[in-house]
Amino acid sequence: MHARVSHSLAVAVLVVLSSTPARAQIRASELGSVSQTIDGTKITMQYSRPRARGRNPLFGTKIVQWDEVWTPGANWATTFEASKDVTLEGHRVPQGKYSVWMVVKKQGDWTLVLDPTSKIYHMDPPDSNPKQVRFPVHALQGPFTEVLTWSVPDVRASGGTLAMDWGTVHVPIKLDVAPSLPVAIAEADAQPFLGRYEYVEKQPGGKTKTSTFTVLYENGTMKGEWFPEDNYMKRFALIRIAPDWFVPGLYDKNGEIYEVLRPEMVIEFTRTTGKATSLVVRNEDDGIDATGTRKP
């Protein structure tokens, strides 16, 4: 009986043990990641996150020594992955996955190093080689950050800021992505569409609202606006997606496009002998929201 109970207990212990995830483990530097998509380009940082654990300062000590080639993380080197080509601090970084290193300096700029070999242990920093992307970054002082953190604190239509914080060190890195749609258009290409259109918009209850839609050319961009003014869209970019199809790009107060209304609002022009004479506005389910006819 006793042996049978012991056997049952052993089996139960084995079941409990085998149901525990094999890799569950408390680590000084837990694995973390952050990713951000901007205009169709996805960037991902994957890294182990060391904690300060009462150690301050961190840099210029045995934790991270001056002039050390250090991965801003722990264990396996921090990785940076971009789904398309990007620029960091103005330096082109081809699509791909890289291990991330910083040359830590007591004075002056640090150097950020992206090495195309992504799987490297932190104890084996790569030698300088021509395949690396290297550029200076500013190491600033900031509020104390206990756990090493990569983040994207600022996101714009065309990029953002990638940042590393640990201890009192803050390293911002300017990120730019390739625009998915060209906003610029040659004046000759815009010319057939320029002018004023009587704009008839569908309203709830089968009613319609009529306004004047003006297409103009300004600073290398085709733009549209209504009169009376639309308070939400104001003057917006008309971005070409096909020879006679355009989508609105809305500007923020700094003149940067912050949203493109595709496929929610596609303006389809109709040409007669080369010049646009009418337009149809289709929404995302391809229904017609408005029409326009050129005014004399």
Binding site: S180, L181, P182, D189, E198, V200, K202, K207, T208, K209, T210, R240, I241, A242, P243, D244, W245, R262, P263, V266, E268, F269, T270, R271, T272, S278, L279, V280, N283, E284, D285, D286, G287, I288, T291, T293
Partner: protein
């Protein structure tokens, strides 16, 4: 204030001319860099594909306004099966093509992107456009 809506016939005429202008010049669109690169390749229509699995009017009793769209899709499975759906369902649910969005659980019952691509594809097909031309238009608007 003139509030008279443009007639439906004018709409259709305008659409026809616009779309013809669009589709007759795909090379120009590409040369101008206007069309966004596709998220992935469009699927090849499966040999012998039919619209038999596309939901019927009886199955769409709760959304009767969608019956004409599903009927139109059912008539051209060889076209709709050659189009990649751009709403993201293809990746998340492993659907083969836009046609899959109109079958079974039919994501197109609720997804306006699936509906819009179906409407655009079927009306361009009625205008005599080829599958390749329809794919260019779909990519320009939805990819």
């Amino acid at each position: 204030m003139d509030t008279s809506p443009t007639s439906r016939r004018s709409f259709l005429a305008a659409c026809s001319v616009t779309l013809a202008a669009l589709l007759l010049r795909p090379a120009q669109a590409q040369a101008a860099g206007a069309a966004r690169p596709a998220a992935g390749p469009h699927p090849a229509p499966r040999a012998g594909i039919t619209g038999a699995k596309v939901l019927t009017a009886a199955q769409l009793s709760k959304t009767p306004d969608l019956i004409p769209l599903f009927d139109a899709v059912r008539e051209v499975p060889e076209i709709i099966d050659g189009i990649r759906c751009n709403c993201g369902c293809g990746e998340s649910q492993k659907l083969y093509s836009l046609l899959s969005c109109y079958e079974g659980d039919a994501m197109a019952r609720a997804c306006t992107i699936c509906q819009g691509q179906g409407r655009l594809a079927t009306r361009l097909h009625k205008l005599g456009r080829s599958l390749d031309e329809i794919r260019i238009a779909i990519d320009a608007k939805y990819a």
